[in-house]
Subunit: 115 residues, 2 copies
DNA sequence: TTTACATATTCCCATATAAGCATGTATTAT
DNA sequence: ATAATACATGCTTATATGGGAATATGTAAA
């Protein structure tokens, strides 16, 4: 078997790769409030329709959004559950940034008492 | 000026793009515990040394890690503060997945009382 | 059945990898 | 000064975009 370079993981490989694209984060934030048809996203974010459809495809492939049809409209909504892994991974570092802030605070207080 | 397509945002454009690569998340998790030289990461994660150096370069460029030299060793450590934006963005969806879980729970309880 | 509307898909192309391999650069040891 | 150690960087290559433009698909309205 020959060498096959995985230049960069596919955007559809997981939620991390999918949300790396800023427009996709914008779309998710917009959809967070409420289920919406594609056209609304196009107008709200000022993007081209094909571009929005492609981004939605990626989001759907990784389970970050769900769709249902209503007449000519495709109503997309966020599947928040799929964002949890991201939140939890980042959360494993929470105690470290708290610790860093604590040290900054301590130094500030030390400076105050010295005055 | 001509059209210049940004095929995909640079891995160094922000923390979101930097952590999209699984190996870089592995490196961050490994460094979370403690400051480490490059060689330790190579051994611990079983990657090629140039590969680790390049990943560290990306992480450093977006401020996810800091370095200091100690003799021949370059000691890398996590800058947890840079992971916060990620945690906070994902956190804006927390109430939605809680809400989803709540509905699942309610349906389950409804089913129980019906029996 | 045309027509209009809403969305999805295809094709093209410049760009940015990530891994492998080779080589350059510090810094310490001999 | 030379060798060895620890990293960083450069080069090549196959791959996966994301935007633009055009076109296809699906549904409802006339």
């Amino acid at each position: 078997m020959y060498y096959s370079p995985m230049a960069r993981a596919a955007t559809t490989s997981d939620a991390f790769n999918a949300v790396a694209e800023p427009r996709r984060r914008d779309i998710l934030s917009y959809l967070a409030l409420q289920e919406r048809p594609v056209g609304d996203i196009v107008v709200a974010l000022g993007l081209e329709q094909p571009s929005v459809s492609k981004h939605l495809r990626v989001l759907k492939d990784v389970g970050l959004v769900r769709v249902r049809r209503e007449g000519r409209h495709m109503l997309y909504r966020v599947n928040a559950e799929a964002i949890r892994p991201l939140h939890e991974w980042a959360g494993t570092f929470e105690r470290f940034w708290r610790h860093q802030l604590q040290k900054v605070k301590e130094r500030a207080e030390e400076k105050m008492t010295k005055v």
